[in-house]
Amino acid sequence: MPKLKLNNVVKRFGENTVCSGVNLVVDQGQMVCLIGASGAGKSTLLRCINLLEPIEDGEIFIDGEDISIPGRNPQDVRARIGMVFQNFNLFPHMTALENAMLAPRRVRKLSKSQLQPEIENLFERFELADRMHNYPDQLSGGQQQRVAIVRALAMKPEVMLFDEITSALDPQLVGEVLDVLLQLKNQGMTMVLATHEMQFARQAADKVCFLKNGKIIEEGPPDQIFEAPKQVETQNFLARALK
């Protein structure tokens, strides 16, 4: 059974159809990269998976369970799916540690002292132990984004969604964040990325999906997509993106 499965997902904002029937299968431990021009629907698709946006039609399954039934309580789904955003979105009035502790305390109902060892461990694993007590505005962009990843991991998610998480970073800070993604992949995390980092997608992804106008035009192993794309749209996009 696939870990995550999207069946004909449709998302509209008023007249504007952003996802027009997306089918996607992500197996346990896979890293899937969504590529495509800005506005192709990559971010919206991720937000739909996390139920931040209700979908108009179609189904989304996790471990075979339909999580997209209208009216279903979204909180427990979101607790199982971690999400990291382009602009970090750390809570500016909390330290890095408090950022990471908030959701486990509220949702997993654990006390600070119960959580302390576990969360500190996460900070250590991602070389942020000395930054734990800093506020977000005292951290570099790369550090902030790594804290955001730690914050999501603190909920022990089964699937992680990454929405162009290196797009707002200075070029020299991109590497440290991509390294974290590789680390997670090696630990067997199931991940879906919307990304403009073509090199990274080519090297690290198990599967690459090219989106255009809210549809997956072509998907396959990175070698196939990047070396021998079948669709003209994919060829055109990659010709421009890899220039």
């Binding site: 996390n50 909180q75 979105n89 809570f91 009035h93 509220r106």
Partner: protein, 277 residues
């Protein structure tokens, strides 16, 4: 910056020092000029003698000032119990107006009506209507006290304004903060309490400081329905001495409190502007 070691100054520093000296000289000269004009020309006005005697009478001031200070304690008391009530009611109204769930729709209507009414009526009218109207119901002591109903009038009026400021603070928190908090599995209520409100309240502290200053002054409106606070006390002295100096004394007492508070609010505002940049 480097005034002490002129030899080590860069061209830029020399130029800036020169500019600073120049603007200080100009400022000093123009200030002296304006003060001199005031001192020379105002006493030349035909009524100056009379005005001086009835508004700036040192003997009356020294006699009445301590009593005015005593009366000001009443202002401070009314302020002290009204301000927290305003903060709580204001926040509640703001949340009521932002409530999304259909079950809370009446609350939303209530919030909107509340702010419309109490922002639309002059404070003094609210004070009159509530301050005279409710005790007129024939309530027993102490429930007919103008302190209670006057304070209530202030609380209602100010809550409407304070609520609008809180609302603008809530709107100023970027929607991505909500998304991030929701994506972690928090409920709407938890998002509001842990993520949105702490940032919203922080964002509006300078604006709310200005409301506090305005409230401190508007406490005097209660004098119209009975309580002998500073303005009323000054009025009593005015009649007693047939002299307006007590009003000037009252103004001085207000300024002693409001100027530091205003400066502090400006400082907070300026600091916030710097942080946003």
């Amino acid at each position: 910056m480097n005034n002490t070691k002129a030899a080590g100054q860069t061209r830029r520093e020399k130029y800036e020092q020169h500019q600073r000296r120049r603007s200080m000289l100009i400022a000093a000269a123009s200030t002296i000029l304006v003060l001199a004009a005031l001192v020379i020309f105002v006493p030349m006005a035909p009524g100056w003698e009379k005005v001086q005697k009835s508004f700036f009478n040192a003997a009356v001031l020294t006699k009445t000032f301590p009593k005015l200070l005593d009366a000001f304690v009443v202002n401070v008391m009314i302020f002290a119990w009204s301000a927290p009530a305003i903060a709580i009611l204001g926040l509640f109204i703001a949340l009521a107006r932002n409530a999304k769930s259909p079950a809370l729709f009446p609350l939303r209507i209530f919030g909107a009506t509340f702010t419309d009414v109490f922002r639309g009526v002059p404070v003094i009218l609210t004070v009159y209507l509530i301050g005279f109207g409710i005790p007129g119901l024939g309530l027993p002591r102490p429930w007919n006290s103008p302190f209670i109903w006057g304070s209530l009038a202030l609380v209602l009026t100010y809550s409407a304004y304070v609520a609008e400021i809180f609302r603008s603070g809530i709107d100023s928190v970027h929607p991505s903060q909500r998304s991030a908090a929701l994506s972690l599995g928090l409920t709407e209520l938890q998002v509001l309490r842990d993520v949105v409100l702490p940032q919203a309240v922080r964002n509006v502290v300078p604006s709310q400081m200005n409301m506090l200053i305005a409230l401190q002054k508007d406490v005097s409106l209660l004098s119209f329905i009975g309580p002998v606070e500073i303005f009323r006390q000054a009025g009593v002295f005015k009649s007693l001495f047939a002299n307006f100096t007590p009003y000037v004394g009252a103004a001085i007492i207000f300024l002693i409190v409001t100027i530091p508070a205003t400066r502090y609010a400006d400082y907070l505002m300026a600091r916030q502007m710097r942080e946003r940049r």
